[in-house]
């Protein structure tokens, strides 16, 4: 089975993470939204463990606190 790799951190969260279909569960990470607020599952706040803002375009591999998510 083909492995899908999402570039966003696995700890990124927003409301849509709780509403999304299992099969489309990564879509909320890439969909353009002007009403989504984001938080980190590690800190439970708007800042990640590295004290920087949690938003999809920043929660990427370049951050020290990044954790990869693999979707199969």
């Amino acid at each position: 089975m083909e492995k899908t790799v999402i570039s966003h951190c696995r700890y990124l969260r927003t409301k849509m993470a709780y509403l999304a279909d299992e099969e489309d569960s990564h879509m909320w990470r890439t969909n353009k939204s002007s009403t989504a607020n984001y938080w980190c599952l590690c800190t439970m706040g708007a800042a990640g463990p590295d004290d920087n803002l949690v938003v999809p375009e920043r929660c990427q591999a370049s951050r020290s606190c990044y954790k990869e998510i693999d979707l199969v």
């Binding site: 299992e22 599952l41 439970m44 706040g45």
Partner: protein, 761 residues
Amino acid sequence: MTKDVRIQVGVADNLQEMALKVPKNDPRPWDGNDQLKYIGGRTTRLDGVAKVTGAAKYTFDMRLPGMLYGKFARSPYPAAVVKSIDYSKALKAPGVKAVLPMQEKLPFSVRFVGQEVAGVAAKTLNQAEEAAKLIEIEYEVKNFTVKLDDAMKENAPLVWDVQVKEEASAGDIPGQENTLPQVGNIRGPNVSARNATKEEIDSLVNASYVTSEGVYRTQVQTHSAMETHGVVAKWDDDKHLTVWASTQSTFRTRKDFAERFELPEANVRVITEHMGGGFGAKFGADTFGVMAAKLSKVTQAPVFFMLDRKEEHWAGGNRPSSLQNVRLGANKEGKLEAIKMLCHGSAGIGTGSGTGNPFKNLYPCEKLYVEESDVFTNAGMGRAFRAPGHPQGIFALEQGMDDLAYQLGLDPLEIRRRNTSHEVRLKEYEIGAKKFGWSQRNPKVAADSGPIKRGVGMANSVWYYFYGTGFPATIQVNSDGSVEIMNGVQDIGTGIRTVLAMIVAEELGLDISEVKVKIGDSDLGAGPASGGSQTTGGITPAVRKAAYLAKQKMREVAAPLFGVSPEQIGFENGRAHVLGDPSTSLGWQQVASRIPGGQFKVVAERKKDYFGNQFQIICGVQFAEVEVDTQTGVVKVKRVVAVHDCGRPMNRLTLESQINGGIIQGVSYALFENRLLDRNTGHMVNPNLEQYKIAGSMDIPEIDSTVIDVFKGHNSTSAMGIGEPATVPTAGAIANAIYHATGARIYDLPMTPDKILAALA
């Protein structure tokens, strides 16, 4: 394997036949011709008595043996760095069992007053509160900004002052177009355009026969659910965690706890037996949930961790503020030709303040340009709040439409008719206008001569159909005839428990009292989250199919008793009979007593709809009548007539109840609610329900709510949501009524007496 069915679809009095292929083991979708006993009727809540007598147990009511109480030490500063934390005094305080930091590593930043710094567990709530005050925290205090306009200035203190090196590039991020610039405290703009660029849109508006321009402001509204946020966390052993949570998603909250504490999902159980509202602010494990679980683990005791009202205002989420620059252009007939909207809003330290969706989705205007930018401020983070961005956007857009109508000498209802061809919306206009008596309105503005002036106004709602898939509904039929329906879905307070019983009773021909509903427990299987108005549309097709499968099993049990084949068996009024021959029948219990093995269980899963997508529009319209005292500036909303749709109505009683609630919340947003932050300290000056004004019983207008039937046939129940659409148009309708009463347009929410008097001056 599929079967062909023909069903009647459309708006109630204009049905059309549709041919449809559905899976062979699915029930025939309920359509416009079905005469149903429960569905579409008015069933009182199954848990109504338990709720009003106090027998219903909410998370807030949980009391476990040996339970400790949790409390946060919170930042008194709107911007600071936590340099060190000394727990020694707190640990020696009476009753204290544990103190833990919120973040693993020091130093860390706090960015709003009330941000969580450390958590305490003690034997009593008072002991925990007192101990939290004894935690000695060394702060490096920084400059801050709490007002939207201040934060937008070039030299404003930066809320997020450390920039991340963004190494990703356009080829390695799916959805790279999402990357937004950030300059100072402004992140954005997020641009949406239709057939127009930023350079072109102004000239397109200018070229229109008539234009409307306005700068609209909306305030921060806190969720203020009756039950505050919170959990009770209990480790059953080192590897098993049970959490009673006031959450809008038992199943995904379970997933959060499992991932956060590195447990298999099967080892975490989340229970939400009853819930006192959420309005979008209660998703996931949250700060208090993680802290409660940590404290519970170190103390080996259950920990109760509920926020108080002040904490709720500070850190429990809010509807972001907005500053919307709106330009609309229409032709001589009132048809919209161009829309421009530039929005800046603040969700505090977070994102999500956009208000553009109503502009993009309500009217089919060909030329549109929308920019949405977040402005960071040192304030509690915004969260999804009942139709995110929509009450704000509608407040602006629908006043602009009203303005165009008056400039053209058109009836405000007529201009809206000319800008839609949506059959459902046009039907709602017809019903609403008739009920309201719209045709009797005085077309003249500020027509009353005395100091008390009456006016009427209207506004549209716009929302969307969402649903998830994969939710399993389980039905168990026992040998005594008892029927249980099971799914993990939580009842946020809107009555899904009752709806599930109605569907099962309908399908099995039973009395509703004979169906036992077990919900609100992640061990019962994944249920939809109560967000996006998707609970009913998400779970009811699975429940109906499970009931249908249970009926097939009961037919197999009954058939030999009648000496006929299973498909000849029908169930009605608690009895089984041969179809076409009701004279000979057996009681449901008699048939159930013959179930091999004494019981059976069937499971059905929520599948994708038969057709259509998830972005179908849900309409809705509200008409408001107000009385404005031009001497005091006080606005009294006298009457609201609401007409909404949500596919096929399941329980009309609780649907109307949700609409009533949406209107009351809308009145409160329009006239009263306002989170006020002190510019000099960053503190909220009204963190309670005394100075943070919420509409009380005397402020609630006469409400006439109607739900129209729209049979779509997209799944077996045709149900959609109503939670969000019901609150979208209220503030806009009231603002338009105030204009009609006084001739003064109010651009700033809440529409308090000072603003009314200033506009009249």
